[in-house]
């Protein structure tokens, strides 16, 4: 019998290994963790979400997803470490303990499983989903241009061969639609954190327009605080701000959709970049990356907990 305690968080893993780990992790920590299947990917892989909860019904909750862009392996690895950290630190870390005593956390570690499997078997640099595009020889949709937030606008492509292809319609990708249905069905998600890599950024809405959100000042202050605690750990420097003002205009992204659907605390991380390896971040950097991200996550979640709306 395998145990999740022998799992190495300092290595990259295949999707089979990750799914095995999720099974074991949920069963070994059933007092705190449950595994939820929110749908099936285009290639029929289960879309799994870990729910961390200490009880209650339909508590306010936090959504975290990692790996929507499949080649960004450090995000999946950070998701795994983070899941384990939540269980390890509950009852020890007073901030996390307080959070989990009032909020639930939902964590989707492999948000784009078909793309992730494809990065292991065919093309290490694959970013999109693996759905077939009728009339094109190119497969896949950029799942972070597929959300119903100014869908098809600036910063997305209508070329199916592009890495930024927005897809035929909003939520055409089952990987996206499954999250939309789950989150809307839940109805009480108060914070949303989508984790990407690797440009060392912490961003918030809007991406699809240059205008500031009504909550800009609060989100900006919170991002500054989160970046500050992240940098404290290893000195990794982050830039923060709205997506459109920080780097580019991008339409159809998850955090804009979340914000426009009433989730005020919507953020997206771009994790560590050594400036030497990009997506090929050495496995030795997995744990430092996850460790420095952790206090930033807690900062955002704790702020959401203290500022109900």
């Amino acid at each position: 019998e395998r145990s999740s305690s022998t799992f190495s968080f300092s290595s990259y893993h295949t999707i089979e290994e990750i799914y095995d780990w999720i099974d074991n992790f949920a069963s070994e920590n059933s007092n705190l963790v449950s595994k939820i299947q929110i749908g099936q990917s285009y290639e029929q892989r289960p879309l799994l979400v870990l729910k961390f909860s200490t009880g209650g019904s339909n508590r306010s909750a936090v959504w975290i997803d990692t790996g929507i862009h499949s080649r960004e392996w450090i995000t999946h690895a950070t998701g795994l470490w983070t899941a384990n950290q939540i269980v390890s630190e509950y009852g020890k870390d007073p901030v996390l303990t307080s959070i989990l005593d009032t909020l639930d956390i939902f964590l989707e570690i492999v948000t784009n499983p078909d793309g992730f499997a494809y990065t292991h078997s065919e093309d290490r640099m694959w970013r999109k989903t693996r759905s077939i595009n009728p009339g094109s020889s190119c497969s896949g949709v950029d799942a972070n241009r597929n959300w119903d937030s100014n869908f098809g606008g600036t910063g997305s492509s209508d070329d199916a061969c592009s890495d930024d292809y927005h897809g035929p319609s909003p939520h055409s990708e089952v990987e996206v639609k499954s999250i939309v249905d789950f989150v809307l069905g839940h109805g009480n998600i108060k914070a949303w954190i989508s984790i990407h890599s690797f440009s060392q950024l912490l961003m918030f809405p809007y991406g699809y327009k240059l205008e500031l959100t009504p909550d800009h000042q609060e989100l900006n202050d919170l991002a500054r605080e989160a970046v500050k605690v992240l940098t404290t750990k290893y000195g990794t420097e982050y830039t923060y701000g709205s997506i459109s003002s920080t780097i580019y205009q991008a339409s159809g992204t998850s955090i804009d959709w979340a914000y426009d659907n009433g989730i005020k605390y919507s953020f997206t991380f771009e994790l560590r970049d050594t400036g030497e390896h990009g997506f090929m971040l050495p496995a030795s950097e997995i744990i430092p990356t996850a460790e420095e991200t952790w206090p930033a996550l807690l900062t955002i979640i704790d702020h959401a907990r203290h500022h109900p709306y």
């Binding site: 190495s8 290595s11 290490r124 890495d163 400036g275 090929m280």
Partner: protein
């Protein structure tokens, strides 16, 4: 199984908006098959682009002709992929 032997990742630092525009044009040259890891967004931010080995000469010449400075961030992408695989296999054995 797609191979990336000899593919390089260039880190490019545009000096101004003019050079940034030149880099943005590169996006449209589909025959060069470049893969932007960090897109050309602002002169303050570096641009990383993976270039297939067969198009390295053309892309580097394009950058040089426009006076855009770059450095080779990854010399051979396939070497890193092979290292990743070895690390994963070793971890699995462990």
């Amino acid at each position: 199984l797609k191979l990336f032997s000899g593919d390089q990742v260039l880190r490019i630092k545009a000096k101004d908006e003019t050079q940034l525009a030149v880099l943005k044009d590169l996006v449209h040259f589909k025959h060069l098959q470049v893969d932007f890891w960090r897109s050309p967004l602002s002169p303050n931010l570096p641009v990383d682009v993976r270039v297939p080995s067969c198009n390295l000469q053309a892309v580097k010449a394009y950058l040089k002709s426009h006076g855009i400075p770059y450095s080779v961030m990854i010399d051979d992408v396939q070497v890193l992929i092979d290292k990743e695989r070895e690390a994963m296999a070793a971890s699995r054995r462990l």
